[in-house]
């Protein structure tokens, strides 16, 4: 089975600088998958990122579209690939985008932390059990 990243785009972007600096930075990340019905070999990974920097607030919604060389099965949908491997492939693009955007906006570039999606997913599974 071959999988490739076809394209990605920013769906929503909110950037606002703060008049008063906050004391600490924080960062929140959510991911999700969707499986378009009309495209049996395509699936999407969605990201919602919320950055609360000392000097600004930034929220981003982005989608990354992947395609397979075979039809997507229900088994594939619940496998590790869409929730671990695909976000791991996509995340560096978003990381670079955030870094460029913040730099070009006149702030120190934000380097999002590297995310271990295996640990992230396993932790949430353990929490549930």
């Amino acid at each position: 089975m071959k999988i490739q990243l076809d394209n990605w785009k920013i769906l929503n972007l909110n950037f606002s600088s703060r008049e008063e600096e906050r004391l600490e930075n924080s960062f929140d990340l959510k991911t999700g998958n969707f499986f378009p019905e009309d495209k049996s070999k395509t699936f999407g990974v969605g990201f919602e990122i919320e950055i609360k920097d000392k000097k600004f607030d930034l929220s981003i919604e982005a989608i990354f579209m992947f395609s397979l060389d075979e039809k997507i099965t229900e088994k594939f949908k619940i496998s590790d690939f869409p929730k671990i491997n695909a976000p791991a492939i996509a995340f560096p693009y978003l990381r670079a985008y955030v870094s460029n955007l913040t730099l070009q906006s006149g702030f120190d570039p934000v380097m999002l932390p590297s995310i271990n999606f295996v640990n992230l997913v396993r932790d949430s599974e353990n929490d549930e059990n």
Partner: protein, 190 residues
């Protein structure tokens, strides 16, 4: 024959179990429209899939433990097929007439229960199914359902915002299941 799509929002783990075996029924006389598997369907809302997602997120929150019971949701899209005679449609005048007939029929029985129910729709439908009065397999109706935002803000409306249906026997009336979307719950539910 009636065929339509139903959207079921649940945890990722439950979705795995549903795909593996089948749906488990929600059982209880205080259920909206009786025992069965519940779905959001097209009706007064054109986005039942989104409502199923919001439901899964709202249901994750455990108010006693003050934490989410699960961190990942899943929306399953199911194809539901039912004979016209076996669909009780409470969004129609005919359906409401049938419900009123059932209420009259079970009036004494409900009184004898000596128990106060906030709503008796589910109770009456359960009676009708148990006693085999009508060949009900699927029931649909319009209801007001609170999601995370409404729960947090304490909003309560009388105006229905969802069309839902219950399927009494999923092995009979559900012909296909597909995962439509999955995702992290984050802190949306609290």
């Amino acid at each position: 024959m009636h065929q339509f799509d139903g959207f079921h929002g649940t945890s990722f783990t439950s979705a795995e179990e549903i795909l593996d075996s089948n749906y488990e029924l929600s059982i209880g006389d205080d259920e909206w429209i009786g025992n069965g598997v519940y779905f959001f369907i097209s009706g007064i809302s054109s986005k039942p899939g989104e409502q199923a997602k919001l439901w899964a997120i709202a249901q994750a929150w455990d108010n006693i433990e003050r934490r989410n019971r699960y961190k990942r949701f899943c929306v399953i899209k199911s194809k539901i097929e039912v004979d016209d005679n076996c669909l009780l449609d409470l969004t129609s005048e005919d359906g409401v007439s049938v419900l009123n007939y059932l209420i009259e029929r079970f009036e004494d029985k409900i009184s004898r229960l000596n128990k106060r129910f906030k709503y008796i729709d589910g109770l009456v439908i359960n009676f009708a199914v148990k006693e085999g009065i009508l060949p009900i397999e699927v029931v649909k109706g319009n209801f007001y359902i609170k999601f995370a935002k409404e729960r947090i803000k304490g909003f309560n409306l009388r105006t229905p915002n969802c069309t839902i249906c219950t399927v009494l026997d999923p092995t009979k009336n559900i012909i296909e299941n597909h995962i439509q979307s999955t995702g992290d719950i984050g802190n949306e539910a609290n």
